[in-house]
Symmetry: C2
């Protein structure tokens, strides 16, 4: 709240100074035409010399809108959500909207309450809650409407969705390593029950069905650097020739650990990430990954929120098809005797 020591400036002060009633000042400030030109002028001057601006709080209370949207993210440290936040913030700023941000710290049990509370302080919610259950989500969404959901599609609630198509992106990555000749794959999957993880697993299942001769094992629970780093031993123990990490963070952690152990990438093991965060191109070797335009995700989320706020039918749901960016971390598998399908040289 603004300082109250120098007696907060109120609309009454302006009215007094201009010699008119409160109502007239309000009318002038809100651009009502039904005010005499001379009075308008007087009020304007009074407001300027006093340095008056209406209290957003009082306006919000009577107008029933806060000029604010809230974003719920599971982890502010995650580049994906940073990108989305940035895109959203840019869009909101363009319409003079403010952004309230809340970090749920990957705790699905907090997300709903966080969202409800944030909703009361804002005009709408942009929700990134990959780990919340479908039931919770379906129950929550009607309560916090208007809402826009990022990176998952609620089963029942009708709500605008902006997402990266993790399934198709992951399918492309699988095809990429298959084309390179890998026949023994390992997927370092993310958090159990995370929506985008389910999408990746769906791609794995489809791939398995289509390629019975290719073996894919799954190791679960890797979402960040440390997890990737810690998985190195398991990766080595499996004798997979290609490891598909849940995301770039995991891939980079794994890459670091493997390099430290003297494992050659991609000579002995190929690694892929996901997201194409700004830094993926600077690893050693540069990381093959699937590119997700996160700021655009945020921008599109804002576009839909803006439609909603203006009572318009929001634009179509959107799924960005990630593009595979082949870089140095993937290559042909090492030639070993037990390769059932040796690549033609």
């Amino acid at each position: 709240m603004a300082r109250r020591s120098p007696e907060r400036l109120t609309i009454a002060d302006v009215a007094e100074k201009a010699g008119v009633s409160l109502s007239t000042v309000s009318r002038v400030m809100n651009g009502s035409t039904t005010v005499d030109a001379a009075l308008t002028q007087r009020v304007r001057e009074a407001a300027v010399t006093l340095g008056y601006t209406a209290s957003p709080l009082a306006r919000s209370l009577v107008l029933g809108k806060t000029q604010t949207v809230a974003v719920i993210v599971p982890d502010l440290g995650n580049p994906t959500f940073q990108g989305a936040l940035r895109g959203l913030s840019t869009g909101a700023a363009g319409e003079n909207y403010h952004v309230l941000v809340a970090d749920s710290f990957e705790d699905p049990s907090k997300e709903a309450e966080l969202a409800r509370e944030a909703r009361r302080r804002s005009d709408g919610i942009v929700l990134c809650a990959p780990r919340m259950t479908d039931d919770e989500l379906n129950e929550l969404l009607p309560q916090i409407s208007p809402a826009v959901v990022i990176n998952r599609t609620p089963t029942s609630a009708r709500v605008p969705v902006v997402a990266a198509d993790y399934r198709s992106g992951f399918a492309q990555l699988l095809a990429h390593v298959k084309d390179l000749g890998h026949r023994k794959l390992l997927f370092l999957s993310g958090a159990e029950g995370s929506a985008s993880n389910r999408d990746r697993l769906a791609a794995v299942d489809a791939f398995r069905a289509a390629n019975p001769n290719i073996e894919i094992s799954v190791l679960t629970g890797s979402v960040n650097f440390a997890d990737g780093y810690a998985s190195a031993d398991d990766v080595i123990a499996s004798d997979a020739t290609a490891v598909l990490a849940f995301n770039d963070l995991v891939a980079m952690g794994l890459l670091g650990a493997l390099t430290a152990r003297g494992v050659d990438v991609p000579g002995e093991v190929s690694i892929t990430g996901f997201d194409d965060i700004q830094f993926a191109q600077y690893t050693t070797p540069p990381l093959t990954t699937a590119a997700v335009p996160t700021p655009e995700l945020g921008a599109q989320a804002w576009a839909r929120m803006w439609d909603l706020l203006n009572g318009r039918q929001p634009a179509y749901n959107l799924a960005f098809g990630p593009l595979v960016v082949p870089r140095g971390s993937t290559g042909r598998p090492p030639k070993t005797g037990d390769d059932p399908h040796p690549a033609a040289t």
Copy 2:
């Protein structure tokens, strides 16, 4: 604002259901002891069955506080501010405070107005405004009090400051490359007038005075990847053997460009960054840099804001002395005939 379609639930509804007056409900909700136990119970039950929670807006208006702090950052895409935002958000969440975030897009002319507007919607401002002039800052700070400033020290206004000591950090980096034997240095400086850039320049000046035999040239205006990448030609044209980039982003961009041109790092040119962002250790070669604990910066900023909000004397100002993390991107300079002080082999 919450939905008004299903007739927003108000304190009057609870009062009616419990058969008491509004005042009593309010007293119960705010933990006043002067309410009969039986009534308290009735009110509690009514509130729960109705699912009532007081409107934060109305409370804010009458209480004069919003339970919200605002952060102004110059660029949400910059890892330094992301880290600070994260640390701050964590601290605020711990006290049930909310965080409003505004991105000034590196535009100093917007920062002041952004801060003033944000201040009116919050109880305090955490300001990262490295490029605002001292005069503007000194004028602004009293208007938005309580405020905490990150990464610069206002000349006149008395305000808590939490900062990384860029000068000492940069001095250490200079010493590091000097010790390696470099005698011809290049500083890719940041935005003219940025506070943390001035600090680095101060370190350069002191270093020059102390080491007249070492040549340091300065190239100005690099703050991100692209700038670093674009500076490659200038870097090659200067025949410096060590380049100190403004920050890790610039260093990584430069590194990428030099690698692409076939320049050996650190064989031909050594490179240092600044900040030690999470990704600096994954470049090729890993980046020598000075580590700044950005989340801690945010956490400490919150601690001071919290003191301020509670009318306490805020904790001492804090300057984190960054630590040099020597990695692969720096090494001994190449031996050339014109080296006046060839390193002993």
